[in-house]
């Protein structure tokens, strides 16, 4: 039997969503659930499980093949090995998450997770159906090549996913300062799900927020700038197929319209276009934030320092 943290945690997912809904209804905590939005989030989660099984064989086979050609043999029984895989897997997750936002072909697989305009525990389960096809699982292969057993890598990936579940909530404001400094938290991840220009493409962390601090992608949540959730161009539909495949279809349409720009359409940042008629996150930030800094714009909270907003 394989130890799959996500499967083991499924009853916890259900129970905590029930609690979040009931406590929000009783006015005991902050959470909003819209029925169709919740249905889409949970159906995406269920579909993701099925899609994962369909492509899982390739992933497992590739991991085992790479492990057969490993550099070292790392024992699953050693504590230092678990400490090492924790750090290396989390760093790999940061890299995966960053390219999933910054390169359109991988954004197409990841965008689903960001399409809700809500931020509650059901949003955590709004997972991709096309991650296997996008091939980002290959980013974890070097860990098996180093010598970590594929089962160990899979368990650590599962632990990371389960950790990231609880941070999808508005019910928790801030964790203790030391915790906010080291770990990904509801506050940090709210920023990640926000579409405010200041918050775009920030806080890619899985478990440790230190990667964002280290690589310059950290943005604290500002009290003066409440998060507005969703994507730059929010969906105007709850159609499950459109939610799951809209960016893939949009890429296909662009490729048909201008095939000679295929590299840009696929590997440019989301919002890239050959004639500059669209905007990337970086361009949106550049357009909106300087205007703010001058004062008077809708993003005028640029003047709010993180330390003033925290606490």
């Amino acid at each position: 039997m394989t130890l799959d943290p996500v499967t083991l945690a499924t009853p916890l997912f259900i129970l905590t969503i029930v609690l979040e809904i009931l406590l929000a209804r009783a006015g005991k905590l902050r959470a909003a659930y819209e029925t169709k939005d919740t249905a889409v989030s949970l159906a995406m989660g269920l579909g993701s499980t099925i899609a994962g099984v369909l492509t899982g064989g390739v992933t497992v086979a590739a991991s085992l093949w790479v492990y057969q050609h490993r550099l070292f043999t790392i024992p699953m029984s050693a504590a230092w090995a678990w400490a090492a895989i924790f750090l290396l897997e989390d760093l790999t997750y940061y890299g995966f998450h960053r390219i999933s936002h910054e390169r359109r072909i991988w954004w197409a697989a990841h965008v689903n997770h960001h399409t809700s305009q809500h931020y509650n525990l059901s949003t955590a389960l709004r997972q991709t159906w096309t991650g296997g096809v996008a091939g980002t699982w290959a980013l974890w292969l070097p860990l098996s090549w180093l010598g970590f057993p594929p089962a160990m890598v899979a368990i650590e990936k599962g632990i990371s996913l389960v950790y990231q579940y609880w941070i999808h909530t508005e019910a928790i404001g801030r964790m203790p300062r030391w915790f906010e400094a080291v770990f990904n938290t509801p506050s940090h991840h709210r920023v990640h799900h926000a579409r405010n220009p200041r918050y775009l493409d920030r806080n890619y962390a899985g478990i440790l927020i230190v990667w964002d601090r280290l690589f310059g992608t950290f943005q604290p949540e500002l009290a003066a700038e409440p998060c507005r959730y969703g994507i730059v161009k929010n969906l105007a539909t709850f159609n499950l197929l459109r939610v799951a495949f809209h960016e893939w279809i949009a890429i296909g349409q662009d490729l048909v319209r201008a095939p000679r720009h295929a590299a840009g359409w696929l590997f440019g940042p989301p919002g890239w276009s050959p004639d500059g008629s669209r905007e990337t996150s970086a361009q949106i930030r550049a357009r909106c934030l300087p205007r703010d800094a001058a004062g008077g714009g809708p993003f005028a909270s640029a003047a709010v320092t993180p330390s003033a907003a925290e606490g």
């Binding site: 499967t7 499924t10 259900i14 969503i17 029930v18 809904i21 009931l22 929000a24 209804r25 959470a31 909003a32 659930y33 819209e34 029925t35 169709k36 939005d37 919740t38 249905a39 949970l42 159906a43 989660g45 269920l46 499980t49 099925i50 099984v53 305009q117 809500h118 059901s122 220009p197 507005r228 969703g230 161009k233 929010n234 969906l235 105007a236 539909t237 709850f238 459109r242 809209h246 960016e247 279809i249 949009a250 349409q253 357009r287 909106c288 205007r291 714009g297 809708p298 993003f299």
Partner: protein
């Protein structure tokens, strides 16, 4: 061949999804959403299209959508659940969109936002400058 246990897991998960969606519907804890008025529509449009000069805004009679003229563009705001989505289309296209049964149907040309339907008393609006 798909393992029997996996099918049981999927079926159980499906039942859990249905129960949770039912619970969310029962709880009625969506964001409160008042019908749009012009100030709120302008506020939302400023969030969606920062800095854009808006010449006129027409709010749907049911308050579920709005359409604004901004130069040669029409800025469209449409309710989605308890939130809104926005898109931009050419003004000429908005002007010539079909008006039937008190509604205009706007082709937004986007697979993620295929169509917006907004209820107006008439279209084109009578107060539209020539």
């Amino acid at each position: 061949m798909i393992h029997h246990a996996f099918l049981v897991q999927v079926a159980a998960s499906g039942a859990a999804v249905a129960a949770l969606v039912g619970l969310a519907a029962w709880a009625r804890i969506a964001r409160p959403l008042n019908p749009l008025d012009e100030p709120r529509a302008r506020e939302l449009l400023e969030q969606e299209f920062p800095g854009r000069r808006i010449e006129a805004v027409w709010v749907g009679i049911d308050g579920a959508g709005a359409l604004a003229k901004s130069g040669a563009a029409a800025l469209v705001l449409v309710r989605v659940g308890d939130a809104y989505a926005a898109r931009q289309i050419p003004w000429a296209q908005a002007l010539s969109s079909g008006f039937k049964s008190g509604q205009i149907s706007l082709d937004l040309g986007d697979v993620a936002a295929p169509r917006a339907v907004i209820a107006f008393a008439s279209w084109p609006p009578k107060d539209l400058a020539a």
